[in-house]
């Protein structure tokens, strides 16, 4: 008939789901006639007796001991059943760990001891301590958190430099290390252009443009927006440049940042002198003379920066790119069609951006053609928007700034605040053109386009009720391999009546042409 075989685990507890799984697996084992899995309570032992699968060992266990008892054919190996049970138990543990997000640095290291880079996103008050702990564990750090003091940032970066580590951030929104996108980042081909940047969406726009041109990136190192401030002295930009100079995969180096002080700019550019790798620099809206003084290439827009890096990589001729991908005839046709639909008093631009650097670039490009623009990040303090809820004349808003993100997620994650504003702008009869960016990739909303389309339709519909046309021009910072898909996103926007341009710079130029002609 068979033999009684058993396994006992003293003071061991399994949850009921696991126990059920074990019972079923044991019971369906070939050659097993009877099986009992459970805790050694008096009643369960009595049941085992009743089922004829008791042994002295089982008789002696207590209610807090786990046991498996089986009546099985001779050829059934108890070891195999025990092994099966153990395998099931460890499978359960592994499964539990598959979506495991360790709550502490120590547990993260235990979970994956070979990791050498840490992404930290905690409330600012705890960020310094966590970053310091990570650096002291010889880990590179990407610090997504903001609200870290300049003093703390400097201390952390000095510690990183001493240890030869990267301290990306605080407030570092994007990086791509060894082809792994971190935080807000796009799926970019692997290639030979290395980037160090203090500007999140600036970096993303450049990497996306590189990808669209058929090339890829080696490493993308974010530094955090304040790295080139005088107080920090560009410590991580310098550290990043050193890393890229020594990286054999990197053939061309790109630096991007908002304008640093002359002193810091010079320090940074000087550090590139001892490499033969070509350098392209875009200090968005900054002084280009100092870049040219040291023989680096100037990127006149984010897109142009990418184009120059790719041209240098391919050994092609270097020219500034200030135009459009489409032929000039096609652009003129779009402009005249749009202008023809606008009424005489529709004359203003409303830029609604989720990317700060993209908003900044828009204002830099348009300043010369349509005049001054009010903003929460104005080019001149005189044009600071006093009431953020109400636009005036030409206005360009960065919804990613602190005043819009207190107590709510960044608009790249939660687009609702921008959607509401779009509908509101569509009620202003003097508005002619809306400019928007759409950031795809990891970390952002899973469907930023879909979230905005109802607002686009509503804003355009409201304008139409007043016999007016609302021109909406957008650019998509994304690639075909991003989770949201570039082509599909573009198609849906175009179906909603949006003019989609291949880059922010081209979208802005088109808006400028429409507004200028409209005048």
């Amino acid at each position: 008939m068979g033999k009684i075989k058993f396994e006992i685990k003293k003071n061991t507890y399994y949850d009921s789901v696991t126990l059920m799984l074990i019972s079923k697996e044991v019971e369906k084992t070939n050659g097993v006639h009877e099986a009992l899995v459970g805790m050694g309570t008096d009643l369960n032992k009595e049941l085992a007796r009743n089922l004829g699968i008791i042994s002295d060992e089982i008789e002696n266990i207590g209610p807090n001991d786990f046991f498996v008892a089986v009546l099985a054919d001779d050829e059934v190996k108890i070891e195999k059943i025990v092994e099966k049970v153990n395998k099931l138990l460890s499978q359960k543990k592994e499964n539990a760990g598959s979506d495991y997000m360790p709550p502490t640095l120590n547990s993260a290291l235990r979970h994956n001891p070979e990791s050498n880079i840490v992404l930290i996103s905690v409330a600012g008050e705890y960020a310094t301590e966590e970053a310091r702990r990570a650096l002291n564990n010889n880990l590179h750090v990407m610090l997504f958190s903001d609200n870290v003091s300049l003093e703390d940032e400097k201390e952390l970066k000095e510690l990183a430099c001493e240890k030869g580590l990267l301290m990306m951030g605080p407030d570092c929104g994007t990086a791509i290390i060894n082809n792994v996108p971190l935080a807000f980042a796009n799926v970019i081909k692997k290639g030979n252009i290395g980037i160090v940047g203090a500007s999140g969406t600036g970096i993303q726009e450049i990497t996306v443009a590189i990808d669209k041109l058929g090339e890829g990136v080696s490493q993308v190192i974010g530094t955090g927006g304040r790295d080139l401030h005088k107080e920090i002295g560009g410590l991580m930009m310098l550290q990043g440049i050193e890393a890229l100079k020594g990286d054999s995969q990197t053939k061309v180096i790109v630096l991007v940042s908002k304008p640093p002080s002359d002193e810091i700019a010079e320090k940074v550019i000087k550090s590139t002198k001892d490499t033969s790798k070509p350098i392209v620099i875009n200090f968005v809206g900054g002084d280009n003379a100092i870049i040219e003084k040291y023989g680096a290439y100037v990127g006149v827009s984010l897109e142009d920066t990418a184009r120059k890096a790719v041209a240098l990589l391919k050994g092609e001729k270097i020219d500034d790119f200030n135009g459009f991908n489409k032929s000039i005839e096609k652009i003129h046709k779009i402009v005249s069609d749009e202008v023809g639909k606008l009424t005489a008093n529709q004359k203003y631009l409303r830029g609604l951006y989720t990317g700060g650097t993209l908003a900044d670039e828009a204002m830099q490009i348009l300043r010369g053609s349509i005049g001054e623009i009010y903003s929460n990040i104005p080019l001149s303090p005189k044009y600071r928007l006093k009431d953020l809820k109400t636009s005036r004349e030409h206005t360009c808003i960065d919804f990613g700034e602190d005043e819009f993100t207190v107590g709510r997620p960044h608009p790249m994650i939660d687009p609702s605040i921008r959607a509401e504003r779009l509908v509101k702008e569509g009620e202003d009869e003097e508005v002619a053109v809306i400019l928007m960016d759409f950031i795809l990739g990891y970390g952002v909303h899973k469907d930023p386009v879909g979230e905005m389309i109802p607002a686009i339709i509503e804003a355009k519909g409201n304008m139409k009720k007043k016999d007016r046309h609302l021109s909406i021009i957008a650019s998509i910072c994304g690639t075909e391999n991003d989770p949201q898909g570039l082509r599909e996103s573009q198609k849906r926007l175009e179906e909603a009546g949006v003019i989609v341009m291949p880059s922010n710079a081209q979208a802005v130029r088109l808006a400028g042409l429409i507004l200028s002609k409209g005048k």
Binding site: S16, V17, V37, N116
Partner: protein, 336 residues
């Protein structure tokens, strides 16, 4: 400088695996006020007793269990609930590790995991008996809904098949149980003792109830054996129904006390504690909500939602508890 990231492929998983919330402590959301008072007295400490995905238990120096729950678990007596849904099983928390309670935090020695409770909401484990009573007509309607949901959603690997042995005794059962239910060997083994217990329970034979309860407690696999879950349901429903029916509360507490009087060492520590709490009407928040929506003036949809939440507890535990509540309520409402 060499930049290395393990398995550097572009996909969400790779990106996710590099993300973690890097704090060395967990914040608590809620704490049982009785436990908090014990902590404030000072010196409370214990060892990890058992660890699961969504909870872990600590056996303190007084041989009482303190449970730590993640945010997915309902609050329960002598527990601390933390504010995120991490898996404790994968945290490195293991049985026997020491845990010490301080005034504002608990510390798991060796792991350097700190669980703070300085800014926490308090939870009272006592039964809530001050609800606005629903009409008897509605309560009976809800009882019928409960029986239907039990059959539609309940798991049959626990106590449920045994309920077929009560046909002819409990009115609603005839409506939904197949009279030809075949009991397996285990169910046949316990059937007579189960029926004896219930006969005594219906007659409220306090003198013999302890003996009959002792004969069935600890039956079933798992940390809280199926029969124990059923008994918890029976006892909790007695406390709430007594209040609803304006019965003598002391008498009913006495009945429950009799059930748990002889359970010592007859079942697991976890189950033993749960039975003792249940005898006082103390139970987890999901079961409490169910009882309040069953007997109080809550809308039917809310009651249904609460029934479904209870059924989801554990593998068969929810079904077993609900079975106890259903049978216990039917008996007290004289639906027998």
């Amino acid at each position: 400088m060499k930049l290395e990231v393990k398995n550097g492929t572009i996909n969400v998983e790779a990106s996710k695996s590099l993300l973690f919330r890097g704090f060395d402590f967990m914040n608590s959301l809620m704490i049982c006020n009785t436990l908090y008072k014990k902590i404030l007295k000072g010196g409370l400490k214990g060892n990890i007793h058992s660890v699961f995905n969504s909870s872990f238990n600590v056996l303190d120096q007084n041989h009482q269990l303190v449970s730590f729950l993640n945010s997915k678990k309902p609050m329960s007596p002598n527990s601390i609930k933390i504010d995120n849904d991490i898996s404790f099983l994968s945290l490195g928390i293991e049985p026997k590790l020491e845990l010490q309670f301080f005034q504002s935090f608990a510390l798991i020695e060796g792991l350097n995991i700190k669980i703070t409770y300085d800014k926490v909401n308090f939870w009272d484990k006592n039964p809530v008996l001050t609800f606005t009573k629903d009409s008897k007509e509605n309560v009976f309607r809800k009882l019928r809904i409960m029986s239907k949901l039990l059959i539609e959603n309940g798991k049959t690997e626990g106590i449920l098949p045994l309920l077929s042995t009560l046909q002819g005794k409990i009115k609603g059962l005839d409506l939904f149980l197949n009279s030809k239910t075949n009991l397996n060997k285990r169910e046949k083994f316990i059937k007579e003792r189960f029926l004896k217990f219930l006969d005594n329970y219906i007659r409220e034979d306090i003198d013999n109830l302890s003996l009959y309860a002792k004969d069935i407690v600890g039956f079933g696999r798992g940390l809280t054996p199926a029969m124990d879950d059923f008994l918890c349901g029976i006892m909790v429903s007695r406390i709430y129904l007594s209040s609803y029916l304006d019965h003598d509360m002391e008498r009913n507490y006495k009945v429950n006390r009799a059930i748990v009087e002889m359970i010592k060492n007859k079942t697991t520590i976890v189950s033993e504690e749960m039975l003792n709490y249940s005898s006082l009407g103390e139970t987890n928040e999901d079961i409490r909500r169910l009882m309040l929506s069953f007997l109080g003036e809550d809308p039917f949809y809310y009651f249904v939602k609460n029934v479904k939440n209870v059924v989801k507890i554990g593998e068969t535990s929810g079904t077993d508890i609900l079975s106890g509540i259903y049978i216990g309520s039917s008996i007290l409402l004289k639906w027998i």
